[in-house]
């Protein structure tokens, strides 16, 4: 009996934390960030909203690096950790790709998701390596998997697939398997 009461209390507590406080804090936080970003870089924030897990915003591709640098350095925000950088392929949409970065601020202990759209034909985006050295391998992986070329990247080589590979495996139009199964070893013959 005692255990059940304890369990119910625990559930009520969780519901409180997840159900009410978090999104409200997200909204306030996002509003202030967007307002400051708008002052610094007019027109850079194309869209913003509060997701299920964290506040998110979509930035203009031209302002991608400048905005990220500002988010890293701005006192009171200091999103110093580039937690993750990846891409999503929305095959039929324009722009086709989304670059998605998850930033973390140790000061406020919050996450922020920033995105930018990249067009499908000859996709290119500026590199974040100068802002976060850790973006190096993450961007190499995005190049390897999605074929998005990062302009200004110091070492843009494939990272997971062999150097001679011609495909971008995580694109939605790349099949899981197919009749012309790729001859893997032909492409890497020159390595050995």
């Amino acid at each position: 009996m005692e255990q059940t009461t304890q369990a119910l209390d625990a559930a009520a507590e969780r519901a409180d934390v997840l159900g009410q406080d978090e999104p409200r804090a997200f909204t306030d936080r996002l509003a202030s960030i967007v307002a400051s970003l708008e002052r610094e870089f007019p027109g850079a924030v194309m869209e913003h909203g509060v997701g299920l897990d964290m506040p998110a915003m979509r930035l203009r591709l031209e302002d991608w690096v400048a905005c990220c640098r500002w988010l890293r350095d701005e006192p009171g925000l200091r999103y110093a950790l580039l937690s993750d950088l990846t891409a999503v392929d929305y095959l039929e949409r324009s722009p086709r790709f989304d670059l998605v970065a998850h930033l973390y601020s140790h000061e406020s202990q919050t996450y922020l998701r920033v995105k930018t759209g990249v067009e499908g034909a000859a996709p290119e985006a500026p590199t974040l390596c100068e802002v976060w050295p850790g973006a190096n391998w993450l961007e190499r992986e995005v190049w390897d998997m999605f074929g998005i070329r990062f302009v200004g990247h110091p070492d843009l080589r494939r990272i997971l697939t062999p150097d001679g590979w011609e495909y971008f495996a995580l694109r939605r139009d790349f099949p899981l398997q197919g009749p012309g199964m790729i001859k893997l070893y032909d492409s890497v013959k020159d390595v050995f």
Binding site: R14, V17, Q109
Partner: protein, 405 residues
Amino acid sequence: MTTDLLGEASGAETAGVTQKTMTLNLGPQHPSTHGVLRLLLELDGETVVNCQPHIGYLHTGFEKNMEAKTYHKAIPYTDRMDYLSAMIYNVAYVQTVEKLCGIEITPRCAYVRTLVSELQRIASHMVWYGTTGMDLGASTAFLYAFRDREDILDFFEELAGGRLTPSYTRVGGMAADLTPGFEERCKTWLVRLPGLIDDYEALLTNNEVFLERTQNVGTMTAEDLIALGVTGPVLRASGFDWDIRRSNPYLIYDKLDFKVCTATGGDVFSRYKVRMGEMREAVKICLQVLDGMPGGEINISDTKYRRPPKDTIMVGMEELIHHFKIATAGFPVPAGEAYVPVESSKGELGFYVVSDGTGKPQRVRVRPPSLLNLQALPQMARGRMIADVVALIGSIDIVLGEVDR
């Protein structure tokens, strides 16, 4: 090993320059690289001038495969990424899907998930302790650690049926509840564990050879590590007090009393101290969880996401249809995206799942802690001796299954 060596040397000859540095290929088939990591070391005598990791030998396209599977069927893939912290991966993945679906798990489920995560953290650190010890010439450490890790794997086998790859979690609950008597047996074993960790420490902590090999090796500042995206024990060993279990608590970590272990040296030995401390803290957490383990259901009652119980499938038409639908087409997950970070034994682990409203995800992305931690290796290794590289790889604690995915 010879190909690169000779290739580089002959290249220099044709250019007519005397080559001062030598390129040495370490791995991918080398026991100290903990799997299939290949390092191109540029050496000046025995000093490392540059170190270039080559990864991808274990690339299996997990993320691509997960896109083609229903949400439930993707769970076994999560085991196989970091096969030393499979439970933590299971938990991280289903947490993200649950976030998308708006599922609130039962208190008992939250407790069980915390328990297995912490047991897994101990097991993962034991492997790290054993292999690092062996890399540095202490093979007794390896035998001690693997003997005790076996007990944890036996617990997992009892709970989930799998030892290394348990796939224990389900969206909205677990594959099975704790077995009868599990809590007592687990507690008896856990009470014994701090004594065993004392034994571990007796082997290495004051060992002159170990200290020589680890102290002031690969020292990094917290700022450099954060810029490189390094998280977890490696970052905490540089004096940076950040643990997701504390800063962004999930499951029941906000109710638990535990210490975030840090050290100030930033070298290999500090990383050793942090992980040893984390093992002890994990024991404390497990005992608290076992003490507070609530009763009640382990799975949510909403059968929209959960398979109906087996006995009802056998007699009810609706349940049978429902079971069939979930097994073949999966359950639709509301369109949206979520990233839920957890503290794995290696650092920040998160699944970023994008749903388009169907039964299969649009994109599943893993934030692999080992990949980003490994990225700091060249900076740590530069200027050190070649033997230190072995100690450094051990101290970062990489799992190549997760680096390459």
